[in-house]
Symmetry: C2
């Protein structure tokens, strides 16, 4: 059983964290053929944290977990913080295969998305 | 003359800020029909800041500037900080039309981008 954990930074604004949960919900429907369980987690300032999110995936029966860093650039959070939090859980569960996917800003489609935002009719 | 300012958070890791500059460069080529000048700027921890980025657009001859918040969710930075920094410059230049576009995480195409990341062959 494969699970997907969407890891966002987390915000003091609950509406911002709710957005991530909603996105994970829409994504879950889109990737249902590949992932049986999709959950969101937050690096800081919001719950669940990464350890709790991974635990939820494991409790749901996941044997493989893909972590999707919902971050735009390879700052400290992507390079160090997320991998460290993931590694702590991975050490506890050697039988669970946990992979970290490319972060969102790293993929080629990002420039298409930006071009879409600043082209009519979506541009002001 | 219309300019586009891509505003990212900014990182202590220079490689992360360089990524934003490279993305702005690729985007510039993609939106060249609409924008004569494309520049990146950073909310904090990196240069140029938003005021300097907007000034560069104005110095390049821009009469209309679209600000693209390169942020994933509507946290404090998107809701308060970026608009405040933009407003300070807008007040100084009443003849320049400055608009803030939707932030990256807000657009419908984001879920497609995420689905692409976690689907083979790009997964793992």
């Amino acid at each position: 059983m494969r699970a997907l954990l969407v890891v966002a930074h987390g915000s003091r604004r609950q509406a911002s964290n709710d957005e991530v949960g909603e996105l994970a919900g829409v994504l879950a429907a889109r990737v249902a053929g590949r992932y049986h369980y999709v959950k969101e987690a937050f690096l800081e300032m919001a719950e669940p944290d990464i350890a709790s999110g991974l635990q939820a995936c494991i409790d749901a029966g996941a044997k493989q977990i893909d972590v999707l860093p919902y971050f735009l650039s390879a700052g400290r959070h992507v390079v160090t913080d997320v991998p460290e939090d993931v590694a702590k859980v991975a050490t506890k569960y050697p039988d669970i295969e946990i992979s970290i996917l490319p972060y969102v800003g790293q993929v080629a489609g990002m420039v298409d998305l930006l071009a879409e935002i600043c082209s009519p009719p979506s541009a002001n």
